[in-house]
């Protein structure tokens, strides 16, 4: 099983001079290659603990870097930059700034669970990816990803009514992400669906978007879930020290003003 290595030499750190002569010897091009030293000095020693405090990140400390997750990964196959093994390594080492270089793709995990299936150490890399994506958002390193917005739209509806209605969720998602609704390809899809559907069924589907399906006697569950969500959110804020971060930022703004 191959272990996908991560090259730590970045293109911007490679310096090659087209024309170069050293003591009368022509070292133009490839011969003058110079690799700029890579220095990591800003460790976040609490990084692993912060990820562990978020749901899904609990088992990250178990990783022994075999690389089975990256080898099995669906997204890695179409984008080699997507590398769960490497990100778990960075988190465990506390190399926050290195992790942030990939902040815009970590949310792309499709939850296929191939990594969790392959992992010999029960790290549950899929859940670690979700925890890491949340950490990036909670700390303000990235805006909420479209995936998170979809999760929120969906979950809000489930918590509110106990059930989901596709049309409503999709529409709300497009609205909240500020995208054109419906996209052109969806129009094509709906048109092809209309070809065969009887009127009665269309009416039923249309009604479903107006009158959302509901679980009856849901109010107590709704309250219980909301209470739990609020409790967990407070717990995560504390674990990540978000209130201190906000306070520090406010102080900085105050000082800058005065």
């Amino acid at each position: 099983m191959p272990i996908h290595e991560k090259s730590l030499i970045r293109p911007e750190n490679l310096h090659v001079q087209e024309q170069k002569e050293v003591e009368g010897v022509d070292v133009s091009g490839h011969w003058s290659t110079f690799i700029e030293t890579r220095v990591v000095s800003d460790y976040n020693e609490a990084l692993q603990e912060e990820i562990e405090a978020l749901p899904g990140g609990e088992n990250i400390h178990r990783c022994w870097q075999c690389g089975s997750c990256t080898n099995a990964c669906t997204v890695h196959a179409i984008n080699p930059e997507f590398n769960p093994r490497y990100w778990i390594y960075l988190i465990r080492m506390g190399m926050e700034s290195e992790l942030l270089r990939d902040k815009d793709i970590i949310w792309q995990c499709v939850s296929c669970n191939k990594c969790t299936y392959a992992c010999p150490r029960d790290v549950v890399p899929e859940a670690v990816m979700k925890a890491t994506a949340h950490w990036l958002e909670l700390k303000g390193h990235t805006p909420k990803s479209h995936s998170t917005i979809f999760d929120e739209v969906f979950s809000e509806q489930v918590f509110e009514t106990g059930k989901i209605e596709d049309g409503r969720t999709i529409k709300q998602y497009f609205k909240r992400t500020g995208q054109k609704f419906p996209p052109n390809w969806m129009v094509t899809m709906v048109l092809s669906l209309l070809r065969n559907l009887p009127v009665s069924l269309l009416t039923r589907m249309g009604l479903a978007t107006l009158i959302a399906p509901k679980t009856s006697d849901w109010s107590k569950s709704r309250e219980a879930i909301k209470e739990y969500v609020a409790e967990q959110e407070a717990h995560h804020r504390k674990a990540l020290g978000l209130d201190e971060l906000v306070r520090a930022a406010e102080n900085e703004i105050q000082e800058a003003r005065s």
Binding site: C112, N113, H146, M189, S192, L193, L201, M205, S221
Partner: protein, 311 residues
């Protein structure tokens, strides 16, 4: 212990949200198939969403609670010992909840607390067995039973069986799989292959049976999903398949949707048909295409099933 054949004759049926929405064809065909085979489905009273693939990203334990409520109703209100969920998402989440409630004290604590506040009985691990529609048909009727009942053989139909992610992964939540002869395999699942073959179909050697269609990000990262789906569609065609048989509403609509999107955005057209296994089995048993909801699929397979003598 009663054998599965007897036990699954009457099961609590958990259709889930997708089967009441975009996956209605799967709902219709599952019910029609059950009726045709003389199997009883009792829909779970006043069920709720299992959390799908989204709620776990807000909090995994809430997903466990949502799934546990469904199982609690089946066990404590309806007195059932088996829940059958045709949707891979529902099936997976109920299985996951079962595993967590048997192994993780924290999950038990959260579920107890939320169930108490919600005013219903707390689900106890082991009260019900969750099965997939594939287990249901396979264990009750089986290949021999199907062969006896086939009216319109699926002969000359080349099928790629697509199971997706949530039917087999991660392995630990499916303790009954990988248990030798007669059990389902998590690396090379075959229950759908077995049933369709019994109905006369020719299963092609399909390498992407448990590949991912990108269903979780079908809207939030459509380009990735289109790439993943196109890979599946093209691999099926390269394997000589005319049809991809599906057993999950998310995979099914994902394949249909991104088949259209691949053509619209990448200009790549694929012709392979996308049909639920329950639709294929129903038609093989003599049901009309509309009785199995073929008209509710996004992709149009009418001409195809007619050509194969099923309509």
């Amino acid at each position: 212990m009663t054998d599965k054949k007897t036990k699954y004759q009457e099961v609590a049926y958990y259709p889930g949200c997708a089967l009441e929405g975009g996956g209605h064809a799967y709902n219709r065909s599952t019910k029609a198939l059950g009726k045709k085979l003389g199997l009883k489905l009792k829909e779970v009273d006043n069920w709720n969403c299992c959390g799908a693939m989204e709620v776990k990203n807000i909090d995994p334990k809430l997903q466990t609670y949502l799934s546990s409520r469904v199982m609690s109703i089946a066990a404590n209100k309806m007195g059932m010992d088996t829940v059958m969920a045709p949707c891979n998402g529902c099936y997976h989440n109920l299985k996951k909840a079962e595993y967590d409630l048997a192994n993780d004290p924290e999950s038990v604590e959260v579920v107890e607390r939320l169930s108490k506040k919600s005013g219903h009985d707390t689900y106890q691990a082991g009260q019900v067995e969750t099965i997939h529609a594939l287990d249901w048909v396979k264990e009750t009727i089986g290949e021999e039973g199907l062969k006896e009942r086939v009216k319109n053989s699926l002969k000359d139909m080349k099928i790629a069986n697509y199971y997706g992610c949530m039917y087999t992964r991660p392995r630990h939540i499916f303790p009954e799989k990988d248990q030798g002869p007669g059990s389902e395999s998590t690396s090379k699942p075959h229950f759908m292959d077995d049933l369709l073959e019994a109905a006369g179909a020719e299963n092609v050697e399909f390498p992407l049976k448990t590949a991912c269609c990108g269903g979780a990000h079908t809207l939030s990262d459509s380009d990735t999903s289109t790439k993943l789906v196109l890979n599946i569609l093209q691999a099926a065609e390269a394997s000589g398949a005319e049809v991809i048989a599906t057993e999950c509403p998310t995979c099914h609509s994902g394949l249909e949707m991104h088949q259209i999107r691949a053509e619209a955005t990448l200009g790549v057209k694929t012709n392979v048909k996308i049909i639920y296994f329950t639709q294929l089995l129903g038609m093989a048993l003599g049901l009309k295409p509309k009785q199995v909801g073929l008209h509710e699929n996004v992709s149009d397979s009418f001409a195809f099933v007619k050509e194969k003598g099923l309509a």
